[in-house]
Symmetry: C2
């Protein structure tokens, strides 16, 4: 089907302008941007736009009969929700990159796509230019899949790379990341692991066909990492990275979480540095696939949105095939983990239900740490204690699944 795609674009920030540029560059896209809806129409812009393209009236796009595809790249999740649901209810297919809006609302968004027989595509919402969603939905459309694990947030990864590869301290690394614009609108969104969490939720429904609400998933960021933790990792020849993972722990169960992890040089993700993202897809028969690329930035994200736009020329939509699978695995947090816990004033050893302490180190100057076994559900139950500024937790991965990705 070769009709031209007439696009109504919401948002004209870094990504929106990237989309505009990418479509201009792509002679064969057979797509054009008819209208661009922005909050402040009078704001000065670097890109010269034809007269009448800019508007601040949502209806100019949603009620425009010429427009057959909406692209939404606004920065405000609530606005994105209103735009996406309105478009779907008008049976207008829509491409969105808003993970913060999609992840919490996926069940409703899937229902709306079915009810109004239209499509919502969002490959750009996870790992920018890396085609994770599309491949999980289409290519890994079978039940051989065992695990998806990766570095999904470029901003926190950039900070940790500065710390481990350039010996910056955490504070100046964070400042540098913000200066270079690698952070999302709110840096805590990246550093707290929330950004990775939302991506993981979206990935999981395409990986295993199961939706787990963000609130039900253990998420622990890097904001409380201490120099002592960095020193400890270095001494072991490891890096600490913020890792998101969904893993089948048995034929019928899977778990998922976002937390810092000790990564040894033998793992693929060890070499995923700076603002890059890297995803390992592991399955029976094909073992491990590693995908690596730019996870953020205006143009990489825009190129991913272009892929979704062009897929619409062939009426592509997610079938959410795996949701129809027989005996899909169920989500569990009853999983034993081995973790490193740094602490100072908070006495972790008495306040956490540890299964077993393997190592303990106490120091007045450096702070103390333990290597201990704990159940994932107990980490969730005690989130407040482990969120104290003197505490830092990192996963030691070889424990609950013996693997070397």
């Amino acid at each position: 089907m070769n009709r031209t795609i007439n696009i109504g674009l919401f948002g004209f920030g870094t990504v929106g302008q990237g989309v505009y540029r990418v479509i201009e560059q792509s002679k064969n896209a057979h797509a054009r941007i008819c209208k661009i809806c922005v909050r402040n129409i009078n704001k000065p812009r670097t890109i010269e736009l034809p007269a009448g393209v800019l508007t601040d009236r949502v209806e100019d796009i949603l009620d425009n009969p010429d427009i057959n595809l909406v692209v939404e790249v606004v920065d405000d999740a609530n606005a994105a929700y209103r735009i996406v649901t309105s478009a779907l209810k008008r049976r207008i297919p829509i491409v969105s990159g808003s993970k913060a809006m999609i992840a919490p609302n996926l069940p409703e968004l899937i229902e709306l796509q079915e009810k109004y027989d239209t499509a919502l595509l969002y490959d750009a919402s996870s790992c920018g230019s890396i085609p994770v969603i599309r491949n999980l939905e289409e290519y890994y459309d079978n039940d051989l899949l065992l695990e998806v694990k990766g570095i999904l947030n470029g901003s926190s990864n950039y900070i940790l790379s500065r710390v481990f590869d350039h010996n910056d301290d955490y504070g100046s690394a964070l400042a540098m990341a913000q200066k270079l614009g690698f952070a999302e609108s709110d840096p805590t969104f990246d550093i707290s692991g929330l950004d990775s969490l939302f991506k993981l939720v979206i990935i999981t429904i395409h990986a295993l066909g199961v939706y787990v609400a963000p609130d039900d998933i253990f998420t622990y960021g890097i904001s409380t990492i201490h120099n002592a933790d960095i020193r400890y990792a270095r001494e072991k020849g490891m890096k600490i990275k913020l890792v998101a993972q969904v893993v089948k722990v048995s034929d019928s169960k899977f778990t998922m979480f976002v937390m810092p992890e000790f990564v040894s040089p033998s793992r693929y993700i060890y070499s995923v540095d700076n603002e890059y993202n890297g995803v390992v897809i592991r399955g029976e028969c094909y073992d491990r696939q590693f995908m690596f690329g730019k996870g953020a930035g205006g143009l990489p994200t825009a190129s991913s949105i272009l892929s979704d736009i062009m897929a619409r020329r062939y009426n592509y939509r997610y079938e959410y095939k795996k949701r129809k699978y027989i005996d899909r695995p169920t989500y569990t947090t009853d999983v034993g983990l081995r973790v490193y816990i740094h602490f100072e004033s908070t006495d972790i050893t008495t306040q956490l239900p540890l299964v077993k302490i393997h190592e303990i180190y106490r120091s007045e100057d450096n702070g103390s740490y333990i290597i201990a076994d704990i159940n994932l559900s107990d980490l969730i139950a005690n989130k407040e204690i482990i969120s104290a500024p003197d505490v830092f937790i990192a996963n030691i991965p070889r424990f609950f699944l013996d693997r070397d990705d």
Copy 2:
């Protein structure tokens, strides 16, 4: 569309048995193997098959009205050609992994798909479990793509890894590769670069929409590599890898070739070792995507074939979209390369039309080498001279495009 896929399978070697196992394991494939056609029906087999499944009569599959998908994994390219063309002419969709059959016959195979309105899928033909073809066709369905470059042959890569990482000499590394079954039926097929060439031809039509016949592409293998070359690369802190690449050299032109290349540690493919494959997809806006995985072996290849089988449940077929692009780039061999040439008795300096010699080293014991500029078309024209057993050529990549993939 949820009909069951009833498969007629041709070939029951390593891959064929892998396909059988993978489909058995994949509860949600909704696919079953009805018939398996083999050359020798009486050959003893490790897998227990239900009575009546095995046959040696092609018609039992091609004339069987119950069968709605043919999967072809026979080892003989001529037999594969007969099976695939017969299936297409009967409008039976077919999945094939036979790069040696597909690459030389692609134009005819595309024509047959259009004429008989049916599908031929062959993702397994390139890089086993890495979804290169599908991503180039669907996800990189735009003209931002600038380059596809990679290690496409696991067997030759295994040999070179043994040589560079384990200090084996070439001969014992080759023997080891054959012993472990990493080699295709004929090892020269891998070592000569032919296997990589066929994959590159298939990749190129999905990358740029242009078909180039294998005979028109410079292909140089690793069979004449000398210890001196290995020593030289090591001294420079580099590895020599057999690299296949298709690269846009201008807006309107692209080139492609398969030859050994000096790879520095800063390149993604430097770390692609042993039997693994790695592909770098470079484009405007998204920069570089790196895909890494198992390129060969029964089960990885079978998992890729399973992806094609399941795609047929949704009537997926290649649209060869980029063939319809306006102003597709044209193939050129008029490209300057900088190469390393090892030689002993053959006096390369007088026999090749070198543009410029940058370095020359002469030795009675180690053999001699030059670093020189030469036009790709002149390498093709002088293939006989550079194929002498005392000669070895490797590309020095930074020259004709300044990049660090």
